[in-house]
Symmetry: C2
Subunit: 372 residues, 2 copies
């Protein structure tokens, strides 16, 4: 069976106030095309389809449209769970009708022991749940971390699972040797989010969402698909795409990169080289975050940058610090004049002109002891 594994679509997400719906459609078109062309048998979405618990109408329409294309248009079963960004009730709305078309949207802890069984594969769908919720659900006071939650969840499943079947867990969590980027909303405050890989040895395959880096973890059976797009400037260097898993003899998993409509670029340099195009970028329409020196005397640099790079989203001024920023003057052993000269040189990068020296003398007159 060929499984396409994706997660963290975050439909409705905005980047520095910019709407990303058309960017998201651009990638989802590739994903749908791939499912069609490559004969994918099943699509797994490991949480955070929406970015907010209360998605906009446009976001709802987009998700509705693409899931329709995959599930009804192409007739491919869809197995999805809710993530920490999703609202369970909203995702659950209509789910009992969806099931009849093999679109399984699982949002309830109450269903974690009922695998979706397709073609000898048992998919244990574990929607995101927080520590308090799991503690109450299992009435288990020993649950105080996310690791505890999944210790309990996997123990429960172990009791009922068919160990002869191919068992696949779909979840939305922070696996322990994975690193979080800026755009994964913290799962909890004050409680450890990390879940150890050792809990999942009963499963042949663990397909995850939450972390946006598709290579956030290196493991034979545990995979993140990564997010649909780069959703923060901390993800600039992350590849984006989806995973395809072939469960033939063994399990083969590979990452399929997608092409973004616009890339994210974080550039650090000088205003001069950017505005005068002394540095070139593959796409001037990329979403730029600039950290630039030389902005001190520029009026409205953002507007000027947008003339060339229309999708500039962020501009941070960098105050140029000269290499020898530490003063070479020992204030205890130098005259006031020496201190002043050193200061002027440090700030302006040049010595006082004769005229300036004259002014200095005039202003400070006898107040400054030149020889001390």
């Amino acid at each position: 069976m060929k499984i396409l594994h994706t997660a963290d679509w975050h439909i409705g997400r905005r980047l520095n106030g910019t709407d990303l719906l058309s960017d998201q459609m651009h990638v989802l078109d590739q994903l749908v095309e791939y499912i069609k062309d490559e004969g994918i048998d099943l699509c797994v979405i490991a949480g955070d389809v929406f970015d907010r618990s209360n998605p906009s109408q446009a976001a709802l329409e987009l998700v509705n449209e693409y899931l329709y294309r995959i599930n009804i248009g192409l007739g491919v079963p869809v197995l999805a769970i809710s993530g920490n960004h999703d609202s369970r009730s909203r995702l659950d709305y209509g789910s009992r009708w969806f099931e009849k078309s093999n679109y399984h949207m699982r949002t309830s802890i109450g269903d974690i022991l009922k695998p979706v069984v397709i073609d000898g594969h048992h998919f244990y769908m574990i929607p995101y749940m927080d520590v308090l919720e799991a503690k109450q659900y299992f009435m288990d006071e020993s649950i105080v971390s996310h690791h505890d939650v999944y210790r309990r969840v996997t123990a429960e499943i172990r009791n009922v699972m068919d160990h002869g079947a191919r068992n696949i867990l779909v979840g939305h969590m922070f696996m322990s040797d994975a690193k979080a980027s800026d755009s994964e909303r913290p799962l909890s405050i004050g409680l450890s989010e990390e879940v150890g890989t050792d809990l999942f040895t009963d499963f042949d395959l663990i397909l995850l969402g939450h972390l946006h880096h598709p290579f956030a973890i290196t493991h034979d059976a545990i995979f993140y698909s990564g997010s649909l797009l780069k959703y923060s400037f901390s993800e600039v260097r992350q590849p984006k795409g989806f995973r395809v898993i072939d469960t033939g003899e063994g399990i083969e998993c590979r990452f399929v990169p997608t092409e973004s409509k616009y890339d994210l670029v974080h550039y650090k340099g000088s205003y001069d080289e950017v505005i005068n195009e002394k540095v070139t970028f593959p796409d001037k329409n990329a979403y730029f975050k600039f950290e630039l020196t030389g902005l001190e005397t520029i009026k409205d640099p953002m507007a000027k940058l947008k003339m060339i790079y229309p999708n500039t989203l962020e501009l941070r001024p960098v105050v140029e610090v000269r290499e020898n920023s530490m003063s070479k003057v020992d204030v205890n052993r130098s005259s006031d004049r020496e201190i002043f000269d050193a200061f002027i040189e440090q700030v302006h990068g040049s010595e006082l002109t004769e005229y300036q020296q004259g002014l200095f003398k005039q202003l400070f007159k006898g107040d400054i002891d030149e020889t001390d």
Copy 2:
């Protein structure tokens, strides 16, 4: 075919701040029971399932649950349209999956010429649309009122309909000899809302939502089901229930009343008779709106009323106006003392005591001419 016709559920509606979800469930339970017991073949919901375009999670769950019971639980087709309170996108979410189970949620003008055909009955589903929208959709500048909208809609349908079939229109509008209550949100401002009955002669049956009174219109073929509950104190005297239409030889339509969990009561009288139970009500737990006299000297009357009538929602003080409220004293021809006496009698309903008369004399001394 036995059709159950309902509308204006307004799930999520609050009455003077009070949540009505359990009241709504109480009535929906009766509706589902009726469908089961009476062998209803089809359920029509003529708009405003939700009260707001952005329903709460509890409202979403409730609608999801009852539509599931009717459509999948009992296997009864559901034909529904969006009303002016609903958000189209939200209602449309999942609708293409619902269709596969004969749950047809129609929210788009683009679909009005595609009837849902069930057992020789052609259901033209007309979601609520406003004047501007219809004008743009049909590119017809002559559309300036709701009547114009439906003139165009019915003309369009007339061109394509099978006149030999049984044609049923499902809509959400204000039919012209119908009267609006407080809780039907105005469809538009500054444009006539009323739609004439003469436009619908091509249809065997017109099943409507929007007006909350089930007998808002008297017509052989045009029916309102009325709302699920009394949603404002202006609806106190309205029966609530649903309609059952039998389309055998002819068309038989009857109204089936439902029982509310708590009734709405609007009582006008005195505080004394209410608080001392000199007047009795069938259910002290009803939702009361009291308009009472004699509140002037009562401290926190609302709290006291709630001790007996816990679901009191509204209390309006009524200042008792005596029958002869016009003063009999001609101020131009009476002494100040006569004017004052008349005033005291009017306000207190009694003459001054001797002690008060003494006080009066003392205070006004010679300033008041008693004989003028």
